[in-house]
């Protein structure tokens, strides 16, 4: 009697037969569930990983960038594409707002994905198989994956990571043989056709004898755009949901806010440099909610990116 003190002798009252039965059934069920989880580690193939390394967002994005530079075989919509060797280590990074790289995996092989975040928490959500893992900044989470079906997969982000969260979507392609690559448009020419960006990397291949030419700068700029993830917000197809699109941007007059005051600027070399080095200084009107973070670009890279933006002037 829930509002009154229980009747005399309540503590000694025998438990009814049916209640006893139910409690026993429940308890056995609980034990079974416990054992089941343990057994799945022995006989099952799907268990969260036990391997994590401490890292920092800076260190991991450096590892990731080096990995991409070394292994990239092409670009898909601004996302670098990598075809890792089975059982190799893959550096897979989430940042606001993209997953990088896009992967080509072989069906039935194991891969060691090192997953981490450059900024906030992200959620690695592989569809349509629907496998979901939490991605932290500062933790290198090593997940060993074995794709069991060939096909095209997408990686959604299912942990809120800011206003562009819904645009964060990556791609994994699982093939049975190299023939399949054509189906996805991933039959890129030889790997060496992609020039390495920056000044500190390998020399250009035989086909590009004049590395300092304008053409090479544009190519290198596009690569910086891909590697650094500018593409996550700045599109080149005219869509501008999170940030101004780059096509037709150079030479345009833009309304920006500086110290709360609205002024007009012309997008030229100096303005692009300023926007990269101190992005919070002038914020384009209409994009106040998605202020750009600082990306560490050296002078050479800034020059190349500027060349790339320039090349899109009339597109």
């Amino acid at each position: 009697m829930s509002l009154l003190a229980p009747v005399e002798g309540w503590y000694a009252k025998k438990v009814a037969r049916d209640e006893k039965m139910w409690m026993l059934i429940s308890f056995v069920l609980c034990l079974m569930l416990f054992v089941w989880m343990l057994l799945w580690h022995v006989y099952g193939e799907q268990n969260p990983s036990n391997v994590t390394y401490r890292t920092t967002p800076v260190e991991f994005s450096r590892l990731h960038e080096a990995y991409i530079k070394k292994n990239m075989i092409g670009i898909d919509n601004g996302v670098p594409v990598v075809k890792p060797e089975p059982k190799s280590d893959v550096f897979f990074m989430g940042e606001m707002w993209r997953w990088s790289p896009a992967l080509i995996l072989q069906k039935g092989e194991w891969y060691n994905l090192h997953i981490s975040s450059k900024d906030l928490m992200h959620g690695f959500s592989l569809q349509p198989v629907n496998m979901n893992f939490q991605v932290y900044p500062g933790y290198d989470y090593v997940l060993h994956f074995k794709p069991t079906e060939a096909g095209e997969y997408k990686v959604l982000c299912n942990e809120f990571c800011g206003i562009g969260h819904h645009t964060m979507i990556g791609k994994i392609v699982v093939i049975e043989n190299d023939e399949d690559l054509k189906k996805y448009g991933y039959d890129f020419p030889e790997k060496s056709a992609v020039p390495a960006p920056g000044t500190d990397t390998a020399p250009a291949t035989a086909t590009e004898v004049a590395p300092a030419s304008a053409e090479a700068d544009i190519k290198a700029g596009e690569l910086v755009y891909t590697l650094k993830g500018c593409v996550a917000c700045h599109k080149t197809d005219g869509t501008a949901q999170l940030a101004p699109a780059w096509n037709g941007l150079f030479g345009k007059k833009e309304k920006v806010k500086e110290n709360g005051k609205e002024i007009e600027v012309t997008v030229d070399e100096a303005y692009i440099r300023e926007s990269i080095v101190t992005p919070q200084q002038k914020v384009t009107v209409g994009y106040e909610q998605t202020v750009m973070p600082v990306f560490a670009l050296n002078d050479e890279e800034i020059r190349q990116v500027t060349a790339f933006v320039k090349s899109l002037q009339n597109k």
């Binding site: 979901n132 994956f145 299912n158």
Partner: protein, 555 residues
């Protein structure tokens, strides 16, 4: 100052009554805000309408979460704690001035937090995982509210001390108060955990601390986030026993067992928060399995015990009232027109069949992989917190209006329908969300067409159907909540005064007569129902594991 209730005969401390009323009023205000936001959110995720901008969508997800899961529920629970420790025990409130202080702190926190969210200074979701950062005043608001609530919990224990001194109860306190004490103990642990994580986060947002580790934050935050839901469960189950008592004069068929189950909650539930970290880096499988099995399952066991004890208390009483034919006459002839009773039974069913089954399955280390952060997770807790706790609180309010606010219920005819509407609305909403989540749809996601992304993804076409069901369920539940709020507000502020037992619209049953049970079983109908529940659980269990086994290999 006491008044003696002319309906129940309880002595009611007028100062306690005032505090109970005010806490309940703020609970209703919070709920109103939460459900308005909920409707806008449903119509944003329902892609053909896609109502809000992404900015406002995430802002209102935060607002809805904080108001529905924290403010509405904690305000109501503080009212419940004061009720259980003063009115039920016929004693005075230990320190009314501190009661006021607690209320002022909570209201200040409530207002500050909501202002910061709506001003766009805290688009961080209820979980506010670092390094996502909100304005310091947002964290301050939560801290003020938590300190106020903590003070309320301490006052509850103060009341219990007075009750002991005055020998207000014999051997042990009534089961309702015992259950509320369970809630209070868990609340204490929870709120302290909250302080442990919100205070450094507050300092970090001020720039006084350099870094709050994301892993540490999430681990400790769930000590608050999950355990606080266990306060709800304990309070809800206490009200279920109360409802059985008020509606049919039922009492637990074995109080020792019911109390044992409450103790299990206290001892084991807090560690179960580990199931929020099952797919996270940094924690070993051994840690995950240990914390989510031995701890969680003994708490699950407690819920299973209540799942038998609550309906069997109704069945046993009904049988003693003479509804003894067959297995289910007791259920058919139950007082279904009493909205408090129907709320409680429906809450019990929804909590078990929707929230309970999915909770256990999603909380296993491996099956969590196929639901983590999908919309199935909010689907699950719509089944626990909304159908379970919220509907229960709504139901018991139909008794609080005449007994505590001393007003007649205006629109009793509407009230009889309201629990059913709410139940079907949320059930539809919740089940659709669970199915959508199983098909991969993420939670807290503005645009399922991924506009602006480098790629796109088309979900299984079946999702269109479930989005529609979800929208319909959400709308139905919104209307049901609105009806409830209107009934409560109109009754409390404009309803005719209750002047005596003749104005009591809902019956308060006498204690069911003593009687010998016939046959071997005390509650055979309940046993059948619980076995049906078990069968449902096992079916869902194997479906989920089957799906998991079809995914990629991972270790």
């Amino acid at each position: 100052m006491f008044r003696t209730c002319d309906i129940t005969g309880f002595k009611v401390d007028l100062k306690a009554q005032q505090l109970i009323r005010l806490n309940a009023v703020f609970a209703v205000i919070s709920l109103l805000g939460a459900v308005i936001a909920a409707l806008l959110l449903v119509f944003t995720r329902y892609q053909p309408v896609h109502l809000l901008s992404s900015e406002w969508y995430y802002r209102l997800v935060t607002y809805h979460g904080v108001n529905a899961l924290i403010f509405w529920i904690v305000f109501f629970e503080i009212a419940g704690l004061y009720f259980g420790s003063t009115v039920v025990l016929n004693i005075r409130f230990c320190a009314p001035r501190l009661g006021w202080l607690s209320l002022i702190l909570m209201v200040a926190g409530f207002i500050l937090t909501d202002i910061m969210i709506l001003a766009g200074k805290a688009d961080v979701m209820m979980t506010s995982y670092t390094p996502l950062k909100a304005d310091p005043l947002y964290y301050l608001g939560i801290i003020l509210f938590a300190v106020g609530a903590l003070l309320g919990v301490v006052l509850f224990f103060g009341n219990l001390m007075i009750a002991r001194q005055e020998k207000a109860f014999g051997d042990t306190m009534p089961l309702f108060t015992y259950g509320m004490m369970t809630a209070a103990i868990i609340a204490f642990i929870t709120l302290v955990t909250g302080a442990i994580i919100y205070i450094p986060t507050f300092l970090w947002s001020l720039g006084l601390i350099e870094n709050v580790d994301a892993g540490m934050y999430k681990l400790i935050w769930w000590g608050l986030g999950h355990s606080s839901q266990q306060i709800n469960v304990a309070a809800m189950v206490s009200i279920w026993y109360l409802g059985s008592f008020l509606a049919v004069g039922g009492t637990s068929i074995n109080e020792r067992i019911s109390r044992l189950a409450f103790v299990l909650y206290i001892m084991f539930i807090c560690l179960a928060s580990a199931h929020h970290l099952l797919t996270d880096p940094g924690l070993s499988s051994a840690w995950k399995v240990w914390n989510t099995s031995y701890a969680m399952y003994l708490a699950v066991l407690a819920s299973m015990i209540h799942a038998f004890a609550v309906p069997s208390s109704i069945e046993s009483a009904q049988r003693r009232w003479g509804y003894n034919k067959g297995l289910f006459e007791w259920l058919v002839k139950a007082p279904w027109s009493n909205p408090a009773f129907s709320s409680i039974v429906l809450a019990c069913i929804g909590f078990g069949f929707i929230g309970g089954t999915t909770g256990v399955i999603f909380g296993m280390e491996q099956t969590n992989i196929i639901v983590h952060n999908t919309i199935a997770i909010p689907g699950h807790f719509k089944g626990t917190v909304v159908i379970g706790t919220t509907l229960t609180f709504m139901g018991v309010t139909y008794y609080l209006i005449p007994l505590i606010f001393r007003r007649k219920i205006v629109g009793l005819g509407w009230a009889r329908w309201q629990p059913w509407m709410f139940f079907f609305g949320i059930a539809l909403l919740s089940v659709s969300m669970i199915v959508l989540g199983q098909l991969g749809v993420p939670r807290r996601h503005w645009d399922s067409t991924f506009s602006g992304g480098p790629f796109t993804y088309n979900f299984n076409p079946a999702t269109d159907f479930f989005w529609t069901l979800m929208m319909l369920g959400g709308t139905l539940a919104f209307l049901a909540t609105l009806i409830w709020i209107l009934i409560v507000v109109i009754s409390v502020f404009f309803g005719p005064k209750v002047n005596g037992p003749e104005d009591m619209q809902l019956p308060i049953s006498a204690l069911a007569p003593e009687g010998k049970r016939q046959g071997k079983y005390e509650a055979p109908g309940t046993l059948i129902l619980t076995l049906a529940f078990l069968a449902t659980f096992l079916i869902l269990f194997f479906l989920n594991w089957k799906w998991l086994a079809a995914t990629w290999g991972v270790y």
